[in-house]
Symmetry: C2
Subunit: 312 residues, 2 copies
């Protein structure tokens, strides 16, 4: 197990930025860098080369050699074949279709590379070093423009045979409802995704440009309307979690993403719904907790992915 | 791996009958017997003793000794701690609470005993010898008075930390809806459980005592009203499966239970809903198939459970 003492480079590719970090054997991010995703045009080649240079810069700065790096873990916002190391499709970054990223980067860098869906990467980070430490069965839900989740089941990440599992944002809340980007309708995400929440907040406060951060600030100040807003969001979040909780019987639901900063205002309502409507065992076991690793979760998750891969 | 060549006694405890079977190493049921559950009163002791005697009778009849039996697998309709071998609670068989069934029967019989939830036992049987052969990720749904499911994920049964996973019948279809026995409301089971289907059929056909079997017979004869009935049930079943399919990305959904005999009439409607409303990868991968083992599934599943336990 000599790899345990080695460092990992974590790469978190998003639609706006690519974040990189050098992660030590205990999950601490020692060094960071970032790139602007769109700067590199519409074909993956230029972006991949820029990432490779950034990886080399990170190791160079810390005077590490290849022998000190146990691998590079890359999180991507889309469908990723983690076994074959192929990026199948990224909905928000054009040009990425069936890209054998692992092979390309391993050849270019001479390092072991693993790739993973970004939500799964966050889940791995929170599971090992964050809000899910020591928990064998959990849902790590990210709430932002989209609502997704990573699943830790029987003490392992559950990706599904098509690497598409965890889409709790696309379990319908209603049988009639707004059409969703996924092609379905009435999806959970349509009721608690950022766009909808911002619209709801604008209407409630009569201010077109109010941000969800503003509403959270008002809630923190004890303003009733803002507290009511988040309680109502919490009720809807609870409704969306009944099915996953009854089906998966998780011990923990970790809530991450921008909206998670307001979890304290939503939590009583979420818990009330789950207590009222979930089955007894499931309701008694589950705890709702905030994500702990913030923006570093994906980079730290890369370390977990590489470590687990090296064990096998 | 000498156990592979041994026989297993499968025991399927239901609210009405206890079914027993001697299962050979290839999953064939060689010999059967049964008991009337209620005949043995309200305390578990008498029923357990009767089951032990029936187990001994089954081995005796076939001139087998203890050395030929690798174990006894018992499926129970309720909450079962499969790790500790304790029956936590059986909603429809009074008197069973925190019964250390495994220990009691191992002492009494001098055989290795494993216990499991009955739906999980059916799932194990269908997975190994029935409609799920060779599939690493599947949902085995049973439709009857209740609607439940067993989950095979990453090539293993997923029980959940409280042994309560798989309750797809209690994922809500609607946020307002009929109150359910589980304490929640709007649950999938309330729309496709036998009671509701029988009511719907009685109303549609204007015949109070029409059975679901009657409606299936009429559908098989090509009667339009009956075909329409099952198509509508199929649509609702499809609605209830969108969430589980998007969350778990299963390759197969096996449909068992009494209503499954009408699956052929429901299947086009189920598939239409899943194709319309599930995410692309999930919709393309999933197949809806009927259970193949019928009433033997639980007994055959016991053989799978014992075999897998002996491997560990």
């Amino acid at each position: 197990m000599t790899n345990i003492s080695k460092y990992v480079i974590g790469v978190d590719i998003g639609g706006t930025n690519v974040k990189l970090g050098l992660v030590d054997p205990r999950g601490k991010v020692l060094l960071r860098s970032s790139l602007a995703t769109k700067h590199f045009g519409k074909s993956p080649e230029a972006l991949i080369e820029a990432i490779c240079e950034a990886v080399e810069a990170l190791t160079g700065k810390n005077r590490l050699g290849k022998k000190d790096i146990s691998g590079v873990g890359i999180g991507l916002p889309g469908l990723v074949d983690a076994d074959k190391g192929v990026v199948r499709m990224l909905p928000n970054i054009p040009g990425w279709a069936e890209v054998p990223l692992r092979r390309i980067m391993e050849r270019r860098l001479g390092l072991s590379v693993r790739i993973e869906n970004d939500v799964n990467m966050i889940t791995l980070g929170e599971w090992e070093y964050g809000a899910g430490k020591g928990i064998e069965n959990l849902i790590c839900m990210t709430m932002g423009t989209g609502v997704g989740a990573g699943l830790i089941l029987n003490n392992a990440i559950y990706r599904g045979p098509g690497f598409a599992a965890g889409e709790i944002g696309h379990a319908p809340l209603h049988q009639k409802g707004p059409v969703c980007g996924c092609g379905g309708w009435g999806c959970f995400e349509q009721y608690v995704g950022n766009k909808r929440l911002q619209k709801d907040a604008a209407r409630l406060f009569g201010k077109k440009d109010i941000s969800l951060e503003d509403v959270s600030r008002r809630a923190a100040e004890g303003k009733k309307k803002a507290l009511k807003f988040w309680a109502q969001v919490g009720e809807t979040v609870g409704q969306g979690l009944i099915g996953p909780v009854n089906i998966l019987n998780p011990e923990r639901i970790i809530v991450g993403g921008g909206v998670a900063r307001s979890l304290e205002f939503m939590k009583p309502a979420i818990e009330k719904v789950l207590k009222q409507r979930c089955m007894k065992t499931q309701a008694e076991m589950v705890r709702i907790v905030p994500a702990l690793l913030g923006n570093d979760a994906g980079i730290i998750g890369a370390q977990v992915l590489i470590r687990h891969e090296n064990k096998n």
